[in-house]
Symmetry: C2
Subunit: 152 residues, 2 copies
DNA sequence: AAAGATTGACACGTCAATCTTA
DNA sequence: TAAGATTGACGTGTCAATCTTT
């Protein structure tokens, strides 16, 4: 009797590499953003999404959906951002439109300032060592993996 | 004047896919392990590494290195595992060999019980939709990315 | 009542300070 | 003193309970 099979050698090797990427990449990006822009990766996304929205305004639920986050998490984060004055909550002006935040122009600058460094980091960490064909391959493989995840 | 360039279209697309993988894969694995074996992904690694070690024993610093974790984090985790009786700390028998844990045989079973489900999850989430050639490609691309990360 | 949003308690990771032992 | 290891405080995420608004 054998133990339920692990992965074959190739798969195991690939899995180790992928696991390391999954482990290290996020923490690098996190560190870079916090250093350069004083915000977490998730906060960066929130502000970026807001700044792209019409009128720089979104409802909490929409923002949560776009940021792949729970409403609860988002609420906590927005509270923090609000405390720093980077975002404003607007209660319903009238009718059922409650706006979670109108980011202050000023502090959208924070997003702006965050962005170049963030872009540089992504390029450096991910794309610098990839050839032109590799980029397409990477996208294809990730898409396949995502299918597997979403199928689950 | 243009804003500092984002990534080109191909890169941006690839980045979105990769970002989604990085976001979703860990939480899926985390959820699966917690459901099936009542432990976190990191706890799983710790127990797995211990169970593979000679005499099921390692020093904290070595374990930390192998698990890519800070000593502090490991210490907290081992404390929790110890509290559940899944691991035992052994103080130096003599000479400078302080052993962090000799996993109880019994509870290594926990690792064993965790493993089949974990393997199945990895296979299902990552490899199911990849062709045989894709596996090598994935490993190669991840390796390239890791080089970029480590170079940083 | 149901959807949208908030809150509080708890679990985990990090950082800095501390303890321990060679 | 320096390396190994632990601890406590703090920040963030999750879950479940709750509040709010229609």
């Amino acid at each position: 009797v054998r133990e339920p099979r692990w992965l074959d050698d190739d798969e195991q090797h690939a899995w180790r590499q992928l696991a390391a990427v999954i482990l290290k990449l996020p923490s690098e990006l996190e560190a870079q953003l916090r250093r350069d822009a004083g915000m977490s990766h998730f906060e960066y996304w929130v502000i970026a999404l807001l700044s792209e929205a019409p009128d720089q305004t979104l409802r909490m639920s929409q923002l949560a959906a776009q940021a792949n986050a729970s409403l609860s998490r988002l609420s906590h984060v927005v509270s923090r951002l609000e405390k720093r004055g980077w975002v404003t909550r607007r209660p319903v002006p009238r009718r059922r439109t409650r706006h979670p935040g109108r980011a202050h122009r000023r502090r959208l600058g924070a997003g702006r300032r965050g962005r170049p460094g963030h872009v540089a980091a992504v390029r450096q960490l991910v794309f610098d060592r990839l050839g032109p064909d590799d980029v397409g391959e990477l996208a294809r493989l990730c898409a396949a993996i995502l299918e597997g995840i979403d199928a689950h």
